[in-house]
């Protein structure tokens, strides 16, 4: 509180980022938030818009030079909100500026919002919130411990590796001396441990950090550790070692006494680089991207050139590519894979998490995704505090690694709209709170630090909050049946399947978005049909009370128009179905929608009777995918069609900018 000099400034103008519009209002500075309240004098209909900006979200504050209209203050947030205020008096502006400068750089964890945030819960509720995710149960779900893998207590007291969790799973044949020896040969002591067990083929996904091999060093314990991992899997004679770095970086590390595994020393490995760039490249890439998309009148060419030169989508693609390689090795070949990068907490976390997301439908549910983040990111020690700049630290440690992971998941959800239980708002909300420091989950760099901070006793868990709001994050297209049929996702990584994520990077730029939302329309439809159904049930109950037996019971409340009706008139009514083609609302309705689509297709397309054989007609295009969608109606339509519309990447953006 003592840093706040001016708690309230009146007559502040908020400029829109991409147009010349502006709104007037009052700016309040509190201990935790910067609040802008639009003055509602101009019209009573639109209640004054409020913008709440958490101090932790603010990445930078900039005071621009004084203009005739006032003193401009530009605030950039980590959730990609950019606000441009104009204050009338320079002194106010300076006060706010200097207060913010101090407030957005907390020096110790106790200053973070999580320690003062109180959502009116009692201790028991909070405790339950923290117990929502149980990693021990998660490993049990995978089928571990089993005859080949066991829980080791070697890191019970964080003696072997500080940045790992207490509970670790290793091959049964890996004895304690082997583990300790191996950990001494690995950077930061992060020896190979199990992160995912693919039960079907008994193949394991393991992770570690780079070996301290230098130019020639070797370590027998480490070699027998890899041997043990290999032996634990009878399907394959060898284990893949994926170094997620570009080869050049790995070579350079050798000079510093680190490096990568020499295939000659490890008899049973297949070594491979996948070439994901390091945190510094990623940081500057995002900066460039934000610069490009922030420019006011962006031409299509500038946008595409900028998108390319930022390299952001290239990096996203690299991560997805690596995850696909990992998934193929595990699910197709049945081989175990050891993933590492330099320290094994950035690229390794990305690849392991994304790879297992592709393999296991559980991780594509809301609860499962939380478990995945808890496991591969939080417990295995992704340095959230450093990467997200929670405390005033080294700016070179900041990097959007986790943001990239979320974006990769989003790209996948665009390709497989039915495969994910959550919608993109879930991802956006997680991203919001990784930076908000409002919940304890992401504070600190590793589990040990979190225990020292007593986060479980002093803060609340984000997962409990998200679970309580689960309704808001459900993806209406999700189909559990689809996941059953396609447990392993095989995404296409052709360049044009990667789009610019407008809702992330322009989340707060209202003018950028489509004027109508399909998601909203479908949620409304669903809600309406739910209401209609409950009315129906109530009425039926009523009928029974009155002693009348209902005539029709099994029919849906509003039967779709019959075939004759449809084909008699070529004038189709509004076709909400077509908008969600290939993605029926729920499993139950798959059948019905399938029929409807079928009919409409015949009307519009004079299509021949749908044969069971798949026909490719003159190359591949819409018709082909529709043919497929008769049979399965899931995912294929959208993913195949994406190939037809390569422009997707930029189109959205180009058009989003247009004011018609």
């Amino acid at each position: 509180m003592e840093h706040i000099r001016t708690p309230k400034v009146e007559q502040v103008r908020l400029l829109d980022r991409f147009s010349n519009k502006s709104t007037n209002g009052t700016l309040y500075l509190t201990a935790t938030h910067l609040i802008f309240v639009e003055s509602s004098s101009n019209s009573s209909a639109s209640a004054g818009q409020e913008i709440w900006i958490l101090h932790h979200h603010i990445a930078s504050v900039e005071k621009l030079s004084l203009t005739t209209t006032g003193c401009p203050l530009v605030i950039q947030c980590r959730n990609f909100r950019v606000v441009h205020f104009v204050l009338q008096r320079e002194r106010d502006c300076h006060d706010i500026y200097s207060s913010l400068l101090r407030l957005l750089r907390p020096v110790c964890y106790e200053e973070l919002y999580a320690f003062s945030y109180n959502p009116k819960q009692n201790d028991q509720q909070r405790e339950e919130g923290w117990q929502l995710i149980d990693l021990g149960a998660e490993f049990e779900r995978m089928g571990v411990p089993c005859d080949q893998w066991q829980l080791t207590d070697v890191n019970r007291d964080y003696k072997v590796c500080e940045t790992y969790p207490r509970d670790l799973y290793v091959p049964i044949t890996a004895s304690k001396p082997i583990i300790v020896g191996s950990s001494k040969f690995r950077s930061k002591g992060r020896f190979p441990v199990l992160t995912y067990f693919y039960q079907e083929k008994k193949a394991a996904v393991c992770r570690c950090s780079q070996p301290l091999s230098g130019f020639s060093a070797r370590c027998l314990e480490d070699e027998s550790m890899l041997q043990a991992i290999s032996k634990a899997n009878h399907n394959s004679r060898f284990v893949y070692v994926m170094d997620t770095r570009p080869k050049l970086n790995a070579l350079a590390n050798r000079a510093a006494g680190k490096g990568y595994e020499n295939e000659d020393n490890y008899s049973n490995i297949r070594f491979q680089f996948v070439g994901i760039e390091n945190i510094h490249v990623m940081r500057s890439s995002l900066q460039k991207l934000l610069e490009v998309i922030g420019s006011k009148s962006l031409s299509m060419s500038d946008y595409l050139v900028g998108l390319e030169s930022s390299g952001w989508l290239r990096h996203i693609k690299a991560v997805v590519d690596a995850a696909v390689v990992l998934t193929k090795a595990v699910t197709v070949e049945g081989a175990s894979v050891l993933v590492h990068c330099s320290d094994g907490w950035d690229r390794t976390a990305q690849v392991c998490a994304l790879g297992t997301l592709l393999m296991d439908p559980y991780y594509r549910t809301i609860k499962g995704f939380m478990v995945l983040i808890e496991k591969d990111w939080i417990s295995f020690g992704h340095k959230f505090a450093d990467r997200c700049d929670q405390l005033d630290g080294d700016p070179k440690e900041v990097s959007p690694i986790f943001t990239q992971f979320l974006e990769c998941v989003w790209q996948l959800s665009e390709q497989f709209p039915q495969a994910f239980e959550f919608s993109e708002w879930f991802l956006l909300q997680i991203h919001e709170h990784v930076h908000s420091c409002q919940y304890g989950n992401f504070l600190g760099n590793n589990q040990r630090q979190r225990e020292d901070l007593q986060l479980r006793e002093r803060t609340h868990s984000l997962w409990a909050f998200l679970m309580s709001e689960k309704q808001n994050y459900l993806n209406p297209f999700y189909s559990p049946a689809y996941s059953e049929e396609h447990p392993v996702l095989e995404p296409s990584t052709l360049p044009y399947n990667f789009k610019f994520w407008r809702n992330m990077y322009h989340q707060f730029d209202r003018s950028m978005h489509p004027r109508q939302s399909i998601l909203k329309a479908i949620l409304t439809l669903k809600e309406n049909s739910r209401k209609a159904e409950s009315t129906l049930q109530a009425l039926e109950a009523r009928l029974q009370q009155l002693g009348v037996t209902p005539v029709v019971t099994s029919d849906p409340p509003a039967p779709p128009p019959t075939r004759d009706q449809l084909s008699s008139s070529n004038a189709l009514p509004l076709r909400p179905d077509s908008l969600i083609l290939g993605a029926p609302i729920s499993h139950k309705e798959v059948q019905r929608h399938g029929e409807e689509d079928d009919e409409q297709e015949e009307v519009g397309e004079e299509a021949t009777e749908s044969t069971d054989t798949e026909r490719t007609v003159e190359g591949s295009s819409g018709t082909e995918s529709r043919k497929q969608s008769y049979g399965e109606l899931e995912g294929t339509y959208n993913s195949d069609l994406a190939k037809e519309e390569p422009g997707v990447v930029s189109l959205e953006f180009g058009v989003a900018r247009m004011t018609c």
Partner: protein, 409 residues
Amino acid sequence: MEFAEHIKTANVEDVVLRQPLHPPSRGTLCITGHHLLFSDREESSSRQVLLLLRNIDAIEKSVENLLGYPGFFSNAGHSERPTDLSLEDQWDLSSPEKHYSQMKELHERWRLSSVNRDYLVCASYPPAVIVPHSIDDDTLKKAAKFRQGGRFPILCYYHRKNGMVIVRSSQPLTGANRKRCKEDELLLQAVIDGSDKGYIIDTRSSQQAQQARMTGGGFESKSCYSRWKRLHRQMERGKSLQESLIKLVEACGDESHNMDRWLSKLENSKWLSHVQTALSTAGLLAECVERDGHSVLVHGSEGTDCSLLISTLAQLIMDPHCRTMEGFLALLEREWVQAGHPFQHRCAHSAYSHARLQQESPVFLLLLDCVWQLWRQFPLALGFSEALLLRLASQTRRRPNTLKRFRRK
């Protein structure tokens, strides 16, 4: 079919089919009088590829293997089954007569003229056109002489909300010595009768318009058309649009899996820039009519490509009826088929073709792309899905005649 006699070998076994983005497959190739048929021999996936011969643009024979490059935009290749369609009804989707009779509000100031009854005044206009009431047919004939290809200004859209209109034509033939035409001026004056001014949206840059004077074309000068304000918006047309599409198609076929290459090729093709220009020009046109409340004349040089493109898009933007399936097809019928877009010249070949024809230009495809973009922004506003757009795209490739036949009965 008479082609059949050219077939030397009807069946070839053991043919390998390689398609971009698909694994190669082995099967039998058959050639018939109208189709090339490939069927997969594998039991599990009986796949068939049916290629309409009409759609094949280029065939190359290389040393080791024979490769046919099919037309990229061709699809939906089941043989047509028009049996259940009665031809008469389908052709009468929309016409100026119908349009006129549906718009009662029009009748006060506009009339239906049959000056072009025998296609003598303008070969590319329909027999009946909508023109201002106060202008008689003789004036129209004279005005037509002053416009390239005889395409004198005619009404294409009436905005119910404020009674403003969109009129389109071809460029005036002012030429180097700044000719004038009293009748043309009169005609345009009649268009904005009762309003203080109108806009002319010229789909060329002002420099291009100046240059056009050297070849007999030109623009409406301020001194002669004092109440019209000219706006220039340069839109790509003709050959460079075709080049752009060829580059885009090439970019789509790139199999290098390289993000940077894809983005730079996409940028280099400029296709999306053209899409953006088209949409923003249409937005401008809609703004002039809807927000400013002024009538607009649209033309480029010939008035058969870009002018149609933006007037169509503007109508989609302004008129909800045009966004229904029926309305959209009627719009296409009016604005493209009857307004004389030379489909046969523009869509003779696909982007794979080696025959680089002067007249080839994917303006219609650009329109479909623009509509698709609108659909992306307003997913609930259109009464049809992208399936219709794909179908239209393939249809114009396959048989430009079907759409065009109507024009010169």
